[in-house]
């Protein structure tokens, strides 16, 4: 067992500030994860060469890989830092903020672009009112399974972080919102907005901007069939366009 572990953090004091690197040494504890290492650094923010510094900032909430907020690049891999166990990581552990989102401070990024994307594709069921609407429509178990695989999305941003089509030159909304489009286009109540969702995908940034690199499905911590969603949405758009052409 090592006595100390080394953690290298890419830090940034605020939006638009120059990033810089700092290395820390943290006393080893069994079953440590990256978050607990960061907590140690926060408790004693002194760099490996003995310089006192500010405590690093990061986001976290659930600590069980279901909220998505602690996502960052751990040794260059986009993942949740709470699920990144120190015993399974190569040293030094290199922590960087996601590169496809604006940095707020240190490892904390602003993922609001993902929530804007969910609004754009209307990723919800159109239900409103205070009265009892009665039981919902029945859904067969196979469809339930399909829907559940997309419902696991926690908007963590890993799929966008590894996407070559998500960058400063491209308005692509990314795979997460595409998965949610398929989820709500499958859901019997959500279906009511299906054609509005398809229209939302036809402009710049929609599913058409996907480059089929398929990194999204490789890194998704929830194993969401994102590339299946992308092709399925492509198929829905193909039929939607043909149908509209002949109906108009």
């Amino acid at each position: 067992m090592p006595e100390k572990i080394t953690v290298k953090i890419k830090r940034q004091d605020g939006p638009g500030k120059e990033p810089y690197w700092q290395t820390f040494e943290v006393p080893y504890q069994p079953n440590m994860n990256v978050i607990s290492a960061l907590m140690e650094i926060r408790a004693n923010p002194v760099t490996a060469d003995g310089k006192k510094t500010t405590p690093p900032s990061w986001d976290d909430a659930c600590l069980e890989e279901v909220c998505g907020s602690c996502s960052m690049r751990v040794n260059g891999v986009a993942r949740q830092s709470c699920a990144a166990l120190v015993d399974q990581l190569e040293q030094p552990i290199v922590l960087e903020p996601f590169t496809k989102f604006p940095v707020v401070r240190d490892l904390m990024v602003d993922r609001s672009s993902m929530f804007e994307a969910l609004k754009r594709v209307k990723a919800w069921n159109p239900l409103d009112g205070t009265y009892d609407l009665g039981p919902g429509p029945k859904v067969d178990p196979d469809t339930q399974d399909d829907m559940y695989s997309y419902a696991k999305c926690m908007t963590c941003g890993c799929c966008l972080e590894v996407c070559p089509q998500v960058n400063e030159n491209s308005p692509f909304i990314g795979a997460a919102a595409i998965g949610q489009t398929i989820l709500y286009n499958t859901q019997p109540i959500g279906k009511a907005l299906a054609s509005e969702r398809l229209e939302a995908h036809m402009g710049p940034g929609g599913v058409g901007d996907c480059g089929n690199a398929q990194n999204c499905v490789r890194v998704c911590p929830k194993d969401i069939p994102l590339t299946t969603a992308i092709a399925a949405l492509g198929r829905q758009l193909t039929w939607h366009t043909i149908k509209n052409f002949f109906l108009r």
Partner: protein, 235 residues
């Protein structure tokens, strides 16, 4: 630009790559590889194309030049909006294919522009005087130009073939033909087979023109005149 037009342009780019450009690529390599039979046989195939007469420029424009120009314009836009993730801990086949699709696109663009200017526009006025098989025989065997032309046609051709074969896979994803991972994997094998056939045709064509250029009779009046005669004796 309104949403529908943007979507239609993206789909147009995807469609044009397969039809007519992919169909033309296959036909083009098939014609060229026919030179493996003999220079005479190849010139007959060329004459068959030219028998379209005044319709030929229309066919060329409608099925080759206009679709190609649109595919290039849209493709350059697409390439400029992407930023390869190669080198960022993503050692996956499709991640490489994404990058190669763009790299081969740029190589293909440079190669096709050169190729069309050289053999369609600069050589065209001489085609009855110096038949294509003679021009290509010189390009692929005469030193030192062959040291440029043979690798250029091999690399340019392979870039075009990769771009088309991988494009077939992404075409099927984009249009929602292969939706799940298994059908997409099977499509890779189909694309590999298509790529292998086209590569075979490309290599056959290059070997054929080298063979023609190395013919002991090559360049003599007795060699060239029968080839001119295929085109009606150089009218």
């Amino acid at each position: 630009m309104n949403n529908t037009n943007y979507f239609l342009l993206r789909r147009l780019h995807s469609l044009l790559g397969v039809f007519p450009l992919g169909v033309f690529l296959f036909n083009h390599l098939l014609t060229n590889s026919s030179a493996i039979v003999s220079a005479q046989f190849f010139e007959e195939k060329v004459a068959l194309i030219h028998s379209l007469g005044p319709l030929l420029p229309l066919v060329e424009a409608g099925f080759i030049f206009i679709p190609l120009a649109l595919h290039i314009a849209l493709g350059v836009y697409i390439a400029l909006t992407g930023k390869s993730e190669v080198g960022r801990n993503l050692p996956y086949g499709r991640n490489w294919a994404y990058a190669f699709q763009r790299w081969t696109g740029w190589i293909a663009l440079a190669f096709i522009v050169y190729h069309v200017v050289h053999l369609r526009f600069l050589h065209k006025p001489h085609m009855y005087d110096i038949p294509f098989s003679v021009e290509l025989g010189v390009m692929f065997t005469e030193m030192p130009v062959a040291l440029f032309f043979v690798p250029a046609y091999l690399i340019g051709g392979l870039a075009v073939i990769f771009h088309f074969a991988n494009g077939l896979c992404t075409f099927c994803m984009t249009w929602g033909i292969t939706v799940g991972p298994q059908s997409q994997r099977i499509m890779v094998w189909v694309a590999l087979a298509v790529g292998a056939i086209l590569t075979l045709l490309l290599v056959t064509a290059i070997i054929a023109f080298i063979q023609i250029g190395l013919d002991p009779q090559f360049g003599t009046e007795e060699f060239i005149q029968p080839l001119r005669d295929v085109h009606g004796g150089g009218d």
